[in-house]
Symmetry: C2
DNA sequence: CCACATCATGGGAACGTTACCGCGAATGCT
DNA sequence: AGCATTCGCGGTAACGTTCCCATGATGTGG
């Protein structure tokens, strides 16, 4: 980087060089109103000549719009959230906005700090995966906000975007049923998490539609981690059972952990145990066997969140709850038992 | 979000409420100079009472420091770059700065656009994994800049932070040798990439130190992707060979692809083929067997890049080239042959 | 040919903050 | 006591932009 610290040219420099006032220069550069073509061209030429670049700080100050959005997610290192961030980034960029990204590590305090930073930076709005239960601060001077993820629904007044868990569960169970797994065991996240309740409710509904008593499903809880899944699967394997075991895990990490547990006890997936995940993280592709999973549309969620946020910023008060559809990614972790045993449950075979 | 659009309080509101001038209020809030404790307390009280939050746009305007940094990486969705972003984020936050994150998708045009956006946003500096060959624009008004990654070294005038490829290769080869793999095959990225040349040179040096002729090493090239690795491995397996095959891949994705290729032809890793990767992406942990790899310190790189950038911003002209050490992650993809065959190469066993 | 509308342009204020300067009071020193 | 120095505080300018209003020029219609 050679010659350092030349003062950045301002619109006044442009105006002087073009021989007009700064008002005229500003009008010319803004594009539209009431300007001779000749003057406009002269101003534009002057601008490129001096290398003028509009100062967005000043613009933001004058207009009250900084052109920046905030994104507060648990961890950018988590592939799902990286996907969300990428979608938000792209959508924001398409609208000429920039994204300030923060990771909260599921820590309410960090979250609060980051939100304060965002308010001070005068972002036009924020997208948050809420960790804390208390967002009164946020409310005070009305920072436009869109929440993201299933934890968002604790807040009735805030628009939110998330994945359609009911549809996802339905998709997963339909697939399991089609493969001949009528009553899969469940590995779920910790109790008192909204996502868990929603997942479970969808499973119940699906079972009832198929005339299956939900109570017969084995359920194990665990942390949303590889280790959590491993332990839950170990408990599942300890239970007496006949024949093939199918498992629907509420999270890919848990599913991968479950896969490890299967290997730990000398069994084989998918020969002895079938595993279905939920998330769509890339690691599932490289596991052996590849993890069949219901993939959340992280990128789409990010994009839609930004769009919702723009609505919010423009005071379009249509406060909405958006659920994005998930998609089945079929890989190798499910055995196909549909031919082996006769379908004993009415309506089980439908897709 | 209930009562919307109350005007955000300014320092003037605070001053009025505290019964002082805005200068005094500013001084009180800035912390230090020449203020009675009593006045300071009154101002601080007033500030919290009205919910004052300093407007960083205005501060940036006045001071010329926006308190924001830019980060332009190929893809936030790529786990390595997500790691880098996380490190940069945390380090920046610790210094009270925020990070504007952009993904370029290895597209020079997108990169240029993002850099322009960053300049307009008046970031104090930028961290870039350079894609383009031409950064004259960047130079013009001296946006402080630190480059990141091995492609950075094309630019002699710009400070850079990257991983220590020489050390990484040494680490990997030492480990291979210790496990009894004296002359591993190499799966490398495309020619005319700087990283490839560096990798190869380090391999040569290591070989020569061990009195091994580098020319005997089999080398296959491929794209830095799973598919690239798969194809390269397939070619490697087509070649006639005796006994166990060991492979050092220049990238974890390629290594995972190689693993698939091994499975494709009915062989077993690590029984028949040993594979060593380079990157440390999480997916390697869930592959079967777990991928032994040399992990790049993505997070540390991000942190150091921010630190370097701060130096750059403060005109500390010590332009530096920093190489961060890598770390071996031992998992299951390497067979231990050290006991089986006598060491025929002098000095091979050292660690 | 004059009244009036239209239009391109310039002047100035304002966004919120901080740095600088100046003023009056209080304090220290001889 | 008298003078110098320090100290707390207020006023004002400036950062770069855009918006509003005024002004003068030009065009239009009666």
């Amino acid at each position: 980087m050679g010659q350092s610290r030349t003062r950045r040219p301002t619109i006044i420099d442009v105006a002087e060089r073009a021989g007009v006032s700064k008002s005229t220069a500003a009008r010319a550069l803004a594009g539209s109103s009431n300007i001779t073509d000749e003057t406009r061209e002269r101003v534009v030429a002057a601008a490129t000549a001096v290398g003028y670049e509009r100062n967005h700080l000043a613009v933001g100050m004058r207009s009250g719009r900084s052109g920046m959005l905030g994104l507060v997610i648990p961890d950018i290192t988590n592939p799902f959230w990286a996907d969300v961030a990428r979608g938000a980034q792209d959508r924001a960029a398409r609208a000429g906005a920039s994204l300030l990204v923060f990771s909260s590590d599921w820590d309410p305090e960090a979250e609060a700090t980051h939100l304060k930073t965002l308010r001070r930076a005068r972002v036009d709005g924020a997208i948050v995966n809420p960790v804390s239960d208390n967002f009164d601060d946020l409310d005070r001077f009305g920072l436009p906000c869109v929440f993201i993820g299933s934890s968002a629904e604790r807040f009735p007044d805030v628009s939110s975007v998330g994945s359609d868990i009911a549809q996802a569960v339905r998709l997963g169970l339909d697939h399991l049923v089609a493969k001949g797994h009528m009553a899969p065991a469940l590995i779920l996240g910790p109790k008192s998490r909204l996502a868990r309740a929603r997942f479970l409710r969808a499973v119940h509904e699906h079972c009832i539609e198929r005339d299956v008593d939900p109570a017969i499903l084995a359920i194990e809880d665990g942390e949303y981690t590889v280790e959590g899944g491993r332990l839950a699967m170990r408990r599942l394997l300890d239970q007496p059972r006949v024949g093939h075991l199918a498992v629907f895990a509420a999270n890919d990490m848990m599913a991968l952990g479950a896969m490890m547990a299967v290997r730990d006890v000398g069994l084989d997936c998918p020969r002895d145990v079938s595993i279905l995940g939920f998330d769509g993280i890339p690691s599932g592709e490289f596991a052996w066997p590849g993890l069949t999973t219901v993939a959340k549309p992280g990128r789409d969620i990010g994009e839609r969140a930004v769009e919702s946020l723009f609505d919010e910023i423009q005071h379009k008060p249509e406060h909405r709850r958006i659920y994005m559809p998930c998609r089945l990614m079929e890989r190798g972790s499910l055995a196909d038992l549909s031919a082996e045993s006769p379908k004993r449950v009415a309506g089980a075979g439908r897709v």
